[in-house]
């Protein structure tokens, strides 16, 4: 018989190995599904790998996909550090997309447009995140539920916009008018879609790491998350910290939407985000809430997404496998996290 026993210490290498173990477990588990779909396991994973990371173009495509998940992953990581359970990155992303699209459609010099798009998008995301945080601080409303439900509210508000005032009267499609050409984010490598926003995302990760690890706000976020009572006794305004965290988290998620509008789609449509906000939760968990870990975690998920499409075309395995891999990775990571606190001990066998 086996039993869980509380671990007295967790070796460092273990913390680094965990996400890798979780990913390995995920790929092994999902290979069963590939086999069920009648395709070769190694062949399928091979196609996934080549299509997502096999050449420089594939890599740029994967990075373009990773960018929004870096932002939502950071958003979730920051929030969860303070134990503000922000499940609303999806809605905050959509709000950021709408706001930046609105600004981007106004004629003005390109650089100014991009800056204002970012500000508007971040502000919109922050405003959306502020709602569940305020409800929690003022009325003790559960933030998991309120932030999650708000996603639907924002989604249908977006739908109302693109089906209503923004609807393309010429084609009749439910899409917003495009932003000005001058507001399109510059492409960094000719012939690819690698846009400015991707670089911003890659820079954001170390900045957020610095904020959490090296600033007083970061200190207060960490302490508030771990023990609000000790934080309050120590003179930290716990409510204020939670609200600041929500603003920061929402702004980051909003920036994910800005990047999608300014660098990828140049307009807003109903499927502008294939669930990047929810993927952000997986990313943050795989990264163990470390902002630096968010980058590789987001790239992994992006590679799975791009790779799954190619695999589906080549081997006939449904592209939904990408969602299954994401879900399994989250579960595997949660199980793996259990082993940082506990270890398995064999009992009942004579020694």
């Amino acid at each position: 018989m086996f039993r869980l026993e509380v671990r007295t210490s967790t070796p460092t290498w273990f913390n680094l190995a965990l996400p890798l173990l979780a990913i390995a477990a995920t790929l092994v588990l999902c290979s069963g599904l590939i086999a069920l779909a009648g395709a070769g396991i190694l062949e399928s994973y091979g196609v996934m790998f080549t299509a997502s990371l096999g050449d420089s173009y594939a890599i740029t495509e994967t990075l373009v996909r990773a960018a929004p998940m870096i932002f939502t992953g950071l958003a979730v990581a920051v929030a969860f550090r303070a134990k503000f359970w922000n499940i609303g990155a999806e809605g905050q992303l959509l709000a950021g997309a709408v706001a930046s699209c609105f600004v981007g459609a106004i004629p003005m010099p390109g650089a100014l447009a991009m800056l204002l798009m970012a500000i508007a998008g971040a502000a919109a995301g922050a405003a959306v995140a502020l709602a569940p945080a305020t409800l929690r601080v003022k009325f003790k409303v559960d933030d998991v539920v309120s932030s999650l439900l708000l996603n639907s509210v924002i989604y249908y508000a977006l739908m109302a916009l693109i089906e209503g005032p923004w609807k393309d009267s010429f084609s009749g499609y439910p899409i917003s008018p495009p932003i000005e050409d001058s507001a399109n984010f510059p492409v960094l490598i000719e012939g690819t879609r690698l846009h400015l926003g991707v670089i911003v995302a890659l820079i954001a990760a170390p900045l957020i790491w610095f904020l959490i690890a090296r600033t007083t706000l970061g200190f207060r976020i960490r302490v508030t998350g771990e023990n609000p009572e000790a934080a309050r006794y120590g003179g930290i305004h716990v409510e204020r910290v939670l609200l600041s965290t929500a603003l920061l988290s929402g702004a980051l998620a909003g920036l994910a939407g800005v990047g999608e509008v300014g660098g990828v789609h140049f307009q807003v449509m109903s499927d502008i985000s294939p669930g990047y906000g929810y993927s952000g939760i997986v990313v943050a968990m795989l990264a163990r809430l470390n902002p630096l870990g968010v980058v590789p975690a987001a790239i992994f998920l992006a590679a799975v997404m791009t790779g799954a499409e190619a695999m589906s075309r080549a081997t006939g395995v449904p592209a939904f496998l990408s969602d299954v891999i994401q879900g399994t990775a989250l579960l595997a990571m949660l199980v793996a996290l259990l082993f940082t606190a506990y270890r398995i001990r064999r009992v009942g066998v004579a020694t």
């Binding site: 210490s9 706000l217 200190f219 309050r232 003179g235």
Partner: protein
């Protein structure tokens, strides 16, 4: 002597490099109350956790009534007739007393046997004076009642050996008497009891025999605790003599903290009704009282975590206007909270973080919103050295420290800033006599340097040793203040029940 009820032989248990228990032998006979003594970190809790199945020992065996048994879970322990009352209770707060008792006890046909439970509860209550209202939710019980429920729970499950890990640390003196009479009555019926405490007078009054641990090993046994001096037991625990610190005459100066008509309204159960007091520099003022008479509210107001509804407070002559931790700190107040684990420290973060927490925004540890990691680390390292805090280093998880070391860390983080006034609640709760002695000495040092100190506590003996004056709280008021030269436990006790105040 009758055959032992429980025997532990050669128990060894390590945590990484730390040998928490090494070749420990221990036995308890039916009807015997065994005291388990030892300094903080000597391995008492670990040993009991092994007996209760929470940890698997690395070596050694456990015998129940002479039969070797394998205990790998609390369920095994209960089946073997071993019950444990942990220091942190394991109760479901929203369920009633009866429901808590019946958790995990299968009734007939999967239904809960309410009537049977009630009958057993009444019977246990009658036998040992452990009465409880079966329909009250646990959240409405006092700490003493919750403890009583834990004991009843163990008896309910048929325990023949009851382990109590520092049960008196959370009790008021009157509750201690009640607990002791229950334990004696249980022993008289043939139950074995293991009693852990740092208070040697309690151990001498209650136990029949003691086993003393030091650094994880058995340092000795005491066969007749009632006729052994506390000093001899302390010597056995620490390996050297412990002399109580001598409190010289005080030379109080100006008032460094004054409260004038401080009142609070009732939101957390306790209220203050017009409390006025003054602490002068170079004196130690004790606040005695049965817990729940407003001491917590008083500590919170002085510490700046609760604003009073009426009244005035000054620190070093300055009026406190906003009652925030930062304001009172800036005026020169040092604060040591009652509950180290929940309000004092952040157990999951490095010790260094907890040590700088209340002053993280000051120039010592940050500037312009940026932390000074080197300054934080150096500060923590210096304090660890100065106060001999036993831990691998400033980056150790705070929760891994023992109680005495946690208390030293909290003391260090305040005293490093030379407070003009210090407020402390229950300064030595759960500490061994060596650690308590160290804390007392520090207070006396601070007093000699002109610091005014307020000690809120329930341990009257400690207050009498330490304080120059003792004020007694009753129902939110200060009902009397005695010079400790005139104070006796009897007089304080009378004041604490409100008897003298009413006269």
């Amino acid at each position: 002597m009758s055959a032992p009820l429980i025997e532990m032989r050669g128990i060894t248990k390590s945590f990484g490099a730390v040998k928490a228990n090494e070749a420990v032998d221990l036995s308890v006979a039916p009807g015997e109350i065994l005291g388990l003594l030892g300094e903080n970190g000597a391995g008492k809790t670990t040993l009991m956790n092994v007996l209760f199945g929470a940890y698997a020992p690395d070596a050694g065996e456990i015998l129940v009534q002479g039969q070797p048994v394998r205990i790998t879970s609390s369920a095994d322990a209960l089946a073997a007739g071993i019950g444990m009352v942990h220091q942190h209770f394991h109760l479901a707060p929203r369920l009633t007393v009866l429901e808590n008792l019946l958790i995990g006890i299968p009734g007939k046909g999967g239904r809960i046997d309410r009537a049977g439970g009630l009958a057993r509860l009444a019977e246990i209550g009658r036998q040992h004076g452990l009465t409880l209202d079966p329909d009250l939710p646990v959240s409405a019980l006092s700490v003493g009642e919750q403890q009583r429920l834990e004991i009843v729970k163990a008896l309910f499950r048929g325990a023949r050996l009851l382990i109590l890990d520092e049960p008196t640390a959370v009790l008021a003196p009157s509750e201690v008497d009640r607990l002791f009479s229950a334990l004696r009555s249980m022993a008289a019926q043939g139950l074995g009891i293991i009693f852990i405490s740092h208070k040697l007078n309690e151990v001498r009054a209650l136990t029949h025999r003691c086993t003393v641990l030091r650094h994880g090993r058995v340092a000795g046994r005491v066969d007749d605790p009632a006729n052994t001096t506390s000093a001899a037991m302390a010597q056995l625990m620490c390996g050297h003599e412990i002399v109580p610190p001598a409190r010289g005459p005080s030379t109080p100066g100006e008032a460094v903290l004054t409260l004038d008509g401080i009142s609070t309204s009732n939101h957390a159960g306790t209220v203050l009704r017009g409390v006025s007091l003054a602490v002068r520099s170079g004196e130690i003022l004790g606040i005695a009282g049965v817990s729940g008479n407003g001491q917590r509210a008083l500590a919170e107001v002085i510490s700046g975590v609760r604003s009073p509804d009426a009244g005035r407070m000054t620190i070093a002559g300055q009026t406190v206007s906003r009652f925030s931790p930062r304001e009172v700190q800036a005026l020169g107040l040092g604060r040591i909270p009652e509950d180290r684990m929940t309000t004092g420290l952040v157990t999951n973060l490095p010790l260094a973080d907890s040590m700088v927490l209340p002053r993280i925004g000051t120039a010592a540890f940050s500037s312009k919103g940026l932390l000074k990691p080197d300054a934080i680390r150096t500060f923590a390292e210096e304090q660890i050295k100065a106060y001999d805090i036993r831990c691998p280093g400033p980056m150790t998880r705070a929760g891994a420290l023992s109680g005495g070391n946690l208390q030293k860390a909290l003391l260090a983080r305040e005293l490093a800033f030379d407070p003009k006034v210090l407020i402390v609640s229950q300064p030595t709760r759960g500490l061994d006599i060596g650690a308590a002695r160290f804390i007392h000495e520090k207070f006396l040092d601070m007093r000699a340097k002109g610091c005014g100190i307020i000690v809120i506590g329930e341990d009257l003996e400690e207050l009498l040793v330490l304080c120059d004056r003792i004020a007694v709280m009753y129902e939110g008021r200060i009902v009397g203040t005695l010079d400790s030269a005139d104070a006796t436990i009897a007089r304080l006790g009378l004041l604490m029940t409100g008897a003298e105040g009413r006269a």
